[in-house]
Symmetry: C2
Protein backbone atom coordinates (compact mmCIF):
# COMPACT_ATOMS: atom_id res chain seq x y z
CA UNK A 1 0.00 0.00 0.00
CA UNK A 2 2.56 2.57 -1.02
CA UNK A 3 0.03 4.71 -2.79
CA UNK A 4 0.48 8.29 -1.62
CA UNK A 5 -2.50 10.56 -1.15
CA UNK A 6 -2.83 13.85 -2.92
CA UNK A 7 -1.24 12.88 -6.21
CA UNK A 8 -4.30 13.42 -8.38
CA UNK A 9 -4.02 15.70 -11.37
CA UNK A 10 -0.27 15.72 -11.25
CA UNK A 11 1.87 15.07 -14.31
CA UNK A 12 -0.58 16.65 -16.72
CA UNK A 13 -3.10 13.86 -16.24
CA UNK A 14 -6.73 14.63 -15.88
CA UNK A 15 -9.44 12.23 -14.99
CA UNK A 16 -11.96 12.23 -17.81
CA UNK A 17 -14.68 13.38 -15.40
CA UNK A 18 -15.47 17.05 -15.82
CA UNK A 19 -15.39 18.85 -12.48
CA UNK A 20 -17.11 21.98 -11.30
CA UNK A 21 -13.86 23.82 -11.81
CA UNK A 22 -14.02 23.28 -15.55
CA UNK A 23 -14.06 20.65 -18.26
CA UNK A 24 -11.24 18.25 -18.83
CA UNK A 25 -8.73 18.91 -21.51
CA UNK A 26 -9.41 17.57 -24.97
CA UNK A 27 -8.03 18.66 -28.29
CA UNK A 28 -11.32 17.89 -30.04
CA UNK A 29 -13.36 20.03 -27.74
CA UNK A 30 -15.09 16.96 -26.33
CA UNK A 31 -13.86 15.21 -23.22
CA UNK A 32 -13.02 11.54 -23.39
CA UNK A 33 -15.91 10.94 -20.99
CA UNK A 34 -18.36 12.67 -23.33
CA UNK A 35 -17.06 10.64 -26.26
CA UNK A 36 -17.43 7.37 -24.34
CA UNK A 37 -20.91 8.28 -23.18
CA UNK A 38 -21.86 9.03 -26.79
CA UNK A 39 -20.45 5.66 -27.86
CA UNK A 40 -22.41 3.90 -25.10
CA UNK A 41 -25.63 5.60 -26.17
CA UNK A 42 -24.99 4.58 -29.76
CA UNK A 43 -24.18 0.99 -28.77
CA UNK A 44 -27.30 0.53 -26.69
CA UNK A 45 -29.50 2.08 -29.41
CA UNK A 46 -28.19 -0.56 -31.82
CA UNK A 47 -28.33 -3.44 -29.31
CA UNK A 48 -24.56 -3.77 -29.68
CA UNK A 49 -23.62 -3.59 -25.99
CA UNK A 50 -24.93 -2.24 -22.72
CA UNK A 51 -22.32 -0.21 -20.82
CA UNK A 52 -22.92 2.49 -18.23
CA UNK A 53 -20.78 4.93 -16.32
CA UNK A 54 -21.23 4.48 -12.59
CA UNK A 55 -22.58 7.43 -10.64
CA UNK A 56 -20.10 9.43 -8.56
CA UNK A 57 -20.18 7.93 -5.06
CA UNK A 58 -21.44 10.42 -2.52
CA UNK A 59 -21.87 10.16 1.25
CA UNK A 60 -25.19 11.84 2.01
CA UNK A 61 -25.36 13.46 5.44
CA UNK A 62 -28.36 15.76 5.42
CA UNK A 63 -31.49 15.82 3.25
CA UNK A 64 -34.30 18.31 3.29
CA UNK A 65 -37.80 17.11 2.34
CA UNK A 66 -39.80 20.21 1.47
CA UNK A 67 -43.55 19.85 0.99
CA UNK A 68 -44.71 19.47 -2.58
CA UNK A 69 -41.24 19.52 -4.10
CA UNK A 70 -38.24 17.27 -4.60
CA UNK A 71 -35.94 16.26 -1.74
CA UNK A 72 -32.83 18.46 -1.56
CA UNK A 73 -29.50 17.08 -0.40
CA UNK A 74 -28.09 19.81 1.84
CA UNK A 75 -24.86 18.19 2.98
CA UNK A 76 -22.88 15.44 1.28
CA UNK A 77 -19.27 14.47 0.64
CA UNK A 78 -17.41 12.85 -2.22
CA UNK A 79 -16.33 9.30 -1.48
CA UNK A 80 -13.47 7.51 -3.17
CA UNK A 81 -14.77 5.07 -5.76
CA UNK A 82 -13.96 1.44 -5.01
CA UNK A 83 -14.21 0.35 -8.63
CA UNK A 84 -13.52 1.61 -12.12
CA UNK A 85 -15.94 4.02 -13.79
CA UNK A 86 -17.49 1.90 -16.52
CA UNK A 87 -18.81 -1.60 -16.82
CA UNK A 88 -21.33 -3.60 -18.76
CA UNK A 89 -21.86 -6.57 -21.02
CA UNK A 90 -20.99 -7.18 -24.66
CA UNK A 91 -21.88 -10.46 -26.43
CA UNK A 92 -21.83 -12.29 -23.10
CA UNK A 93 -18.49 -10.76 -22.05
CA UNK A 94 -18.27 -8.67 -18.92
CA UNK A 95 -16.38 -5.48 -19.76
CA UNK A 96 -14.91 -3.20 -17.10
CA UNK A 97 -12.76 -0.15 -17.70
CA UNK A 98 -11.46 3.21 -16.64
CA UNK A 99 -10.92 6.18 -18.97
CA UNK A 100 -7.94 8.50 -18.67
CA UNK A 101 -6.79 11.45 -20.71
CA UNK A 102 -3.24 12.80 -20.66
CA UNK A 103 -1.64 15.94 -22.09
CA UNK A 104 1.60 14.02 -22.23
CA UNK A 105 2.97 12.96 -25.63
CA UNK A 106 5.66 10.51 -24.67
CA UNK A 107 4.20 8.38 -21.87
CA UNK A 108 1.14 7.59 -19.80
CA UNK A 109 1.93 8.51 -16.17
CA UNK A 110 0.78 6.00 -13.57
CA UNK A 111 0.17 8.71 -10.98
CA UNK A 112 -3.51 9.04 -11.63
CA UNK A 113 -4.28 5.38 -11.10
CA UNK A 114 -5.30 4.33 -7.62
CA UNK A 115 -4.26 1.24 -5.71
CA UNK A 116 -7.91 0.21 -5.23
CA UNK A 117 -8.55 0.48 -8.99
CA UNK A 118 -5.64 -1.85 -9.67
CA UNK A 119 -7.02 -4.25 -7.06
CA UNK A 120 -10.43 -4.06 -8.68
CA UNK A 121 -8.95 -4.79 -12.11
CA UNK A 122 -7.18 -7.84 -10.75
CA UNK A 123 -10.44 -9.09 -9.23
CA UNK A 124 -12.27 -8.62 -12.52
CA UNK A 125 -9.55 -10.52 -14.38
CA UNK A 126 -9.74 -13.40 -11.87
CA UNK A 127 -13.45 -13.72 -12.70
CA UNK A 128 -12.63 -13.71 -16.44
CA UNK A 129 -14.01 -10.29 -17.14
CA UNK A 130 -12.40 -8.09 -19.80
CA UNK A 131 -10.52 -5.40 -17.92
CA UNK A 132 -8.83 -2.48 -19.65
CA UNK A 133 -8.22 1.26 -19.68
CA UNK A 134 -9.04 3.69 -22.44
CA UNK A 135 -6.16 6.16 -22.70
CA UNK A 136 -6.22 9.31 -24.74
CA UNK A 137 -3.01 11.11 -25.63
CA UNK A 138 -4.77 14.41 -26.18
CA UNK A 139 -1.97 16.29 -28.01
CA UNK A 140 -1.65 13.41 -30.47
CA UNK A 141 -5.39 12.96 -30.92
CA UNK A 142 -4.94 9.23 -30.31
CA UNK A 143 -7.05 7.01 -28.07
CA UNK A 144 -6.06 3.46 -27.16
CA UNK A 145 -7.50 0.42 -25.45
CA UNK A 146 -4.81 -1.01 -23.18
CA UNK A 147 -5.55 -4.30 -21.43
CA UNK A 148 -5.14 -4.09 -17.67
CA UNK A 149 -2.51 -6.80 -17.55
CA UNK A 150 0.04 -4.40 -19.09
CA UNK A 151 -0.96 -1.56 -16.79
CA UNK A 152 -0.71 -3.84 -13.74
CA UNK A 153 2.70 -5.02 -14.84
CA UNK A 154 3.98 -1.43 -14.93
CA UNK A 155 2.18 -0.66 -11.67
CA UNK A 156 4.09 -3.33 -9.74
CA UNK A 157 7.35 -2.50 -11.44
CA UNK A 158 6.86 1.09 -10.27
CA UNK A 159 6.29 -0.13 -6.71
CA UNK A 160 9.62 -1.93 -6.96
CA UNK A 161 11.30 1.32 -7.89
CA UNK A 162 10.64 1.17 -11.62
CA UNK A 163 9.52 3.97 -13.92
CA UNK A 164 6.46 6.02 -13.07
CA UNK A 165 4.88 5.89 -16.51
CA UNK A 166 4.19 3.62 -19.46
CA UNK A 167 6.14 4.78 -22.52
CA UNK A 168 4.05 5.81 -25.51
CA UNK A 169 6.02 3.31 -27.59
CA UNK A 170 4.82 0.46 -25.35
CA UNK A 171 1.22 1.65 -25.51
CA UNK A 172 1.55 1.85 -29.28
CA UNK A 173 2.92 -1.70 -29.37
CA UNK A 174 0.63 -3.43 -26.84
CA UNK A 175 -2.63 -1.46 -27.04
CA UNK A 176 -5.23 -1.19 -29.79
CA UNK A 177 -5.85 2.16 -31.43
CA UNK A 178 -9.52 3.06 -31.11
CA UNK A 179 -10.94 4.25 -34.41
CA UNK A 180 -13.08 7.35 -34.76
CA UNK A 181 -16.66 6.67 -35.79
CA UNK A 182 -19.19 9.34 -36.71
CA UNK A 183 -21.82 8.16 -34.22
CA UNK A 184 -19.52 6.55 -31.67
CA UNK A 185 -16.62 8.96 -31.56
CA UNK A 186 -14.59 6.53 -29.49
CA UNK A 187 -15.64 3.29 -31.12
CA UNK A 188 -13.98 1.13 -28.48
CA UNK A 189 -15.94 -2.04 -29.28
CA UNK A 190 -13.81 -2.31 -32.42
CA UNK A 191 -10.77 -2.57 -30.15
CA UNK A 192 -12.57 -4.99 -27.80
CA UNK A 193 -13.18 -7.21 -30.84
CA UNK A 194 -9.42 -7.30 -31.40
CA UNK A 195 -8.84 -8.32 -27.79
CA UNK A 196 -11.41 -11.10 -28.21
CA UNK A 197 -9.89 -12.26 -31.50
CA UNK A 198 -6.52 -12.49 -29.77
CA UNK A 199 -8.00 -14.50 -26.88
CA UNK A 200 -9.60 -16.84 -29.38
CA UNK A 201 -6.32 -17.22 -31.21
CA UNK A 202 -4.43 -17.97 -27.97
CA UNK A 203 -6.96 -20.67 -27.08
CA UNK A 204 -6.65 -22.31 -30.50
CA UNK A 205 -2.85 -22.35 -30.60
Amino acid sequence: MRYPNGTRRKNNITNSTPTSSGKSYSNRGMTLEEDINAANTYYVSRDMAIVHKKPTPVQIVNVDYPKRSAAVIKEAYFKQASTTDYNGVYKGYHVDFEAKETKNKTSFPLSNMHEHQITHMEQVMKQKGLSFIIVRFAPLGETFLLESKYLIDYWYKQQDGGRKSIPYSIVKEKAYLIPFHFQARVDYLKAVDKVLAKLEEDVNV
Copy 2:
Protein backbone atom coordinates in the same frame (compact mmCIF):
# COMPACT_ATOMS: atom_id res chain seq x y z
CA MET B 1 -44.87 3.66 -21.72
CA ARG B 2 -47.84 3.16 -19.46
CA TYR B 3 -45.76 3.27 -16.34
CA PRO B 4 -47.44 5.67 -13.89
CA ASN B 5 -45.36 7.95 -11.72
CA GLY B 6 -45.64 8.04 -7.99
CA THR B 7 -46.29 4.37 -7.38
CA ARG B 8 -43.21 3.72 -5.28
CA ARG B 9 -43.65 2.15 -1.88
CA LYS B 10 -47.22 1.13 -2.55
CA ASN B 11 -48.46 -2.39 -1.91
CA ASN B 12 -46.18 -2.97 1.07
CA ILE B 13 -43.09 -3.06 -1.12
CA THR B 14 -39.95 -1.38 -0.01
CA ASN B 15 -36.85 -0.89 -1.99
CA SER B 16 -34.00 -2.58 -0.19
CA THR B 17 -32.20 0.75 0.14
CA PRO B 18 -32.49 2.19 3.63
CA THR B 19 -33.57 5.82 3.53
CA SER B 20 -33.00 8.61 5.98
CA SER B 21 -36.57 8.14 7.18
CA GLY B 22 -35.73 4.71 8.53
CA LYS B 23 -34.47 1.28 7.64
CA SER B 24 -36.30 -1.07 5.36
CA TYR B 25 -38.38 -3.81 6.83
CA SER B 26 -36.76 -7.15 7.51
CA ASN B 27 -37.78 -9.91 9.83
CA ARG B 28 -34.17 -10.78 10.60
CA GLY B 29 -33.27 -7.28 11.65
CA MET B 30 -31.01 -6.93 8.61
CA THR B 31 -32.18 -5.38 5.38
CA LEU B 32 -31.89 -7.36 2.19
CA GLU B 33 -29.41 -4.77 0.99
CA GLU B 34 -27.20 -5.31 4.04
CA ASP B 35 -27.35 -9.06 3.52
CA ILE B 36 -26.38 -8.75 -0.15
CA ASN B 37 -23.55 -6.37 0.65
CA ALA B 38 -22.27 -8.85 3.24
CA ALA B 39 -22.46 -11.64 0.65
CA ASN B 40 -20.57 -9.51 -1.88
CA THR B 41 -17.84 -8.75 0.65
CA TYR B 42 -17.55 -12.44 1.44
CA TYR B 43 -17.45 -13.40 -2.26
CA VAL B 44 -14.73 -10.93 -3.14
CA SER B 45 -12.64 -11.96 -0.11
CA ARG B 46 -12.70 -15.55 -1.40
CA ASP B 47 -12.18 -14.62 -5.07
CA MET B 48 -15.58 -16.15 -5.82
CA ALA B 49 -17.14 -13.18 -7.64
CA ILE B 50 -16.85 -9.44 -7.88
CA VAL B 51 -20.19 -7.68 -7.53
CA HIS B 52 -20.84 -4.11 -6.39
CA LYS B 53 -23.88 -2.03 -5.61
CA LYS B 54 -23.95 1.07 -7.77
CA PRO B 55 -23.84 4.40 -5.98
CA THR B 56 -27.10 6.34 -5.71
CA PRO B 57 -27.18 8.70 -8.69
CA VAL B 58 -27.13 12.31 -7.59
CA GLN B 59 -27.29 15.55 -9.59
CA ILE B 60 -24.77 17.86 -7.94
CA VAL B 61 -25.66 21.55 -8.21
CA ASN B 62 -23.50 23.38 -5.71
CA VAL B 63 -20.19 22.45 -4.07
CA ASP B 64 -18.27 24.37 -1.47
CA TYR B 65 -14.46 24.04 -1.41
CA PRO B 66 -13.31 25.19 2.02
CA LYS B 67 -9.59 25.68 2.60
CA ARG B 68 -7.78 22.78 4.22
CA SER B 69 -10.82 20.51 4.39
CA ALA B 70 -12.92 18.29 2.17
CA ALA B 71 -15.27 19.65 -0.49
CA VAL B 72 -18.86 19.87 0.77
CA ILE B 73 -21.81 19.31 -1.56
CA LYS B 74 -24.30 21.99 -0.55
CA GLU B 75 -27.07 21.33 -3.04
CA ALA B 76 -27.86 18.14 -4.91
CA TYR B 77 -30.89 16.14 -6.03
CA PHE B 78 -31.67 12.46 -6.34
CA LYS B 79 -31.83 11.25 -9.93
CA GLN B 80 -33.74 8.23 -11.10
CA ALA B 81 -31.37 5.33 -11.71
CA SER B 82 -31.24 4.15 -15.31
CA THR B 83 -30.06 0.66 -14.42
CA THR B 84 -30.49 -1.96 -11.76
CA ASP B 85 -28.63 -1.65 -8.46
CA TYR B 86 -26.09 -4.47 -8.66
CA ASN B 87 -23.79 -5.88 -11.28
CA GLY B 88 -20.53 -7.69 -11.60
CA VAL B 89 -18.78 -10.76 -12.93
CA TYR B 90 -18.81 -14.38 -11.82
CA LYS B 91 -16.75 -17.07 -13.57
CA GLY B 92 -16.85 -15.05 -16.79
CA TYR B 93 -20.60 -14.43 -16.57
CA HIS B 94 -21.93 -10.91 -16.36
CA VAL B 95 -24.48 -10.76 -13.55
CA ASP B 96 -26.97 -7.93 -13.17
CA PHE B 97 -29.76 -7.71 -10.62
CA GLU B 98 -32.14 -5.70 -8.51
CA ALA B 99 -33.10 -6.54 -4.92
CA LYS B 100 -36.63 -6.13 -3.59
CA GLU B 101 -38.20 -6.90 -0.28
CA THR B 102 -41.96 -7.28 0.25
CA LYS B 103 -44.13 -7.58 3.36
CA ASN B 104 -46.61 -9.45 1.25
CA LYS B 105 -47.03 -13.21 1.79
CA THR B 106 -49.05 -14.23 -1.24
CA SER B 107 -47.51 -12.36 -4.18
CA PHE B 108 -44.76 -10.07 -5.37
CA PRO B 109 -46.38 -6.80 -6.50
CA LEU B 110 -45.01 -5.35 -9.74
CA SER B 111 -45.66 -1.79 -8.61
CA ASN B 112 -42.16 -1.15 -7.37
CA MET B 113 -40.48 -2.09 -10.63
CA HIS B 114 -39.80 0.73 -13.06
CA GLU B 115 -40.22 0.71 -16.81
CA HIS B 116 -36.56 1.69 -17.31
CA GLN B 117 -35.40 -1.20 -15.11
CA ILE B 118 -37.37 -3.64 -17.24
CA THR B 119 -35.81 -2.06 -20.35
CA HIS B 120 -32.37 -2.39 -18.82
CA MET B 121 -32.98 -6.06 -17.99
CA GLU B 122 -34.01 -6.73 -21.58
CA GLN B 123 -30.85 -5.05 -22.83
CA VAL B 124 -28.68 -7.14 -20.50
CA MET B 125 -30.40 -10.33 -21.67
CA LYS B 126 -29.84 -9.38 -25.32
CA GLN B 127 -26.11 -9.20 -24.56
CA LYS B 128 -26.24 -12.62 -22.85
CA GLY B 129 -25.79 -11.31 -19.35
CA LEU B 130 -27.49 -13.08 -16.44
CA SER B 131 -30.35 -10.82 -15.38
CA PHE B 132 -32.49 -11.50 -12.32
CA ILE B 133 -34.12 -10.07 -9.23
CA ILE B 134 -33.58 -11.13 -5.66
CA VAL B 135 -36.96 -11.09 -3.92
CA ARG B 136 -37.45 -11.44 -0.20
CA PHE B 137 -40.85 -12.32 1.22
CA ALA B 138 -40.05 -10.85 4.61
CA PRO B 139 -42.90 -12.37 6.65
CA LEU B 140 -41.99 -15.82 5.33
CA GLY B 141 -38.26 -15.35 5.82
CA GLU B 142 -37.71 -16.59 2.27
CA THR B 143 -35.45 -15.05 -0.37
CA PHE B 144 -35.54 -16.11 -4.02
CA LEU B 145 -33.60 -15.57 -7.21
CA LEU B 146 -36.09 -15.02 -10.02
CA GLU B 147 -34.76 -14.76 -13.57
CA SER B 148 -35.84 -11.58 -15.31
CA LYS B 149 -37.59 -13.41 -18.14
CA TYR B 150 -40.42 -14.39 -15.75
CA LEU B 151 -40.67 -10.91 -14.30
CA ILE B 152 -40.75 -9.37 -17.79
CA ASP B 153 -43.46 -11.81 -18.83
CA TYR B 154 -45.70 -10.66 -15.94
CA TRP B 155 -44.76 -7.05 -16.58
CA TYR B 156 -46.12 -7.10 -20.14
CA LYS B 157 -49.17 -9.13 -19.16
CA GLN B 158 -49.93 -6.42 -16.60
CA GLN B 159 -49.64 -3.77 -19.29
CA ASP B 160 -52.22 -5.70 -21.27
CA GLY B 161 -54.58 -5.57 -18.32
CA GLY B 162 -53.28 -8.63 -16.49
CA ARG B 163 -52.63 -9.01 -12.78
CA LYS B 164 -50.46 -6.53 -10.93
CA SER B 165 -48.35 -9.06 -9.08
CA ILE B 166 -46.56 -12.37 -9.44
CA PRO B 167 -48.22 -15.02 -7.27
CA TYR B 168 -46.02 -16.53 -4.56
CA SER B 169 -46.82 -19.97 -6.00
CA ILE B 170 -45.25 -18.97 -9.33
CA VAL B 171 -42.17 -17.55 -7.61
CA LYS B 172 -41.90 -20.78 -5.64
CA GLU B 173 -42.15 -22.80 -8.87
CA LYS B 174 -39.93 -20.75 -11.20
CA ALA B 175 -37.40 -19.12 -8.86
CA TYR B 176 -34.55 -20.61 -6.83
CA LEU B 177 -34.65 -20.37 -3.07
CA ILE B 178 -31.49 -18.65 -1.82
CA PRO B 179 -29.94 -20.54 1.07
CA PHE B 180 -28.75 -18.87 4.24
CA HIS B 181 -25.01 -19.03 4.79
CA PHE B 182 -23.22 -17.93 7.94
CA GLN B 183 -20.82 -15.58 6.15
CA ALA B 184 -22.96 -14.77 3.13
CA ARG B 185 -26.40 -14.46 4.64
CA VAL B 186 -27.98 -14.31 1.20
CA ASP B 187 -25.78 -16.83 -0.57
CA TYR B 188 -27.16 -15.99 -4.00
CA LEU B 189 -24.29 -17.51 -6.00
CA LYS B 190 -25.69 -20.91 -5.04
CA ALA B 191 -28.86 -19.95 -6.88
CA VAL B 192 -26.87 -18.49 -9.80
CA ASP B 193 -25.15 -21.89 -10.10
CA LYS B 194 -28.58 -23.48 -10.55
CA VAL B 195 -29.45 -21.00 -13.30
CA LEU B 196 -26.15 -21.83 -15.02
CA ALA B 197 -26.70 -25.59 -14.64
CA LYS B 198 -30.12 -25.18 -16.25
CA LEU B 199 -28.62 -23.16 -19.14
CA GLU B 200 -26.03 -25.87 -19.66
CA GLU B 201 -28.73 -28.54 -19.63
CA ASP B 202 -30.85 -26.64 -22.19
CA VAL B 203 -27.85 -26.35 -24.50
CA ASN B 204 -27.12 -30.07 -24.28
CA VAL B 205 -30.69 -31.26 -24.90
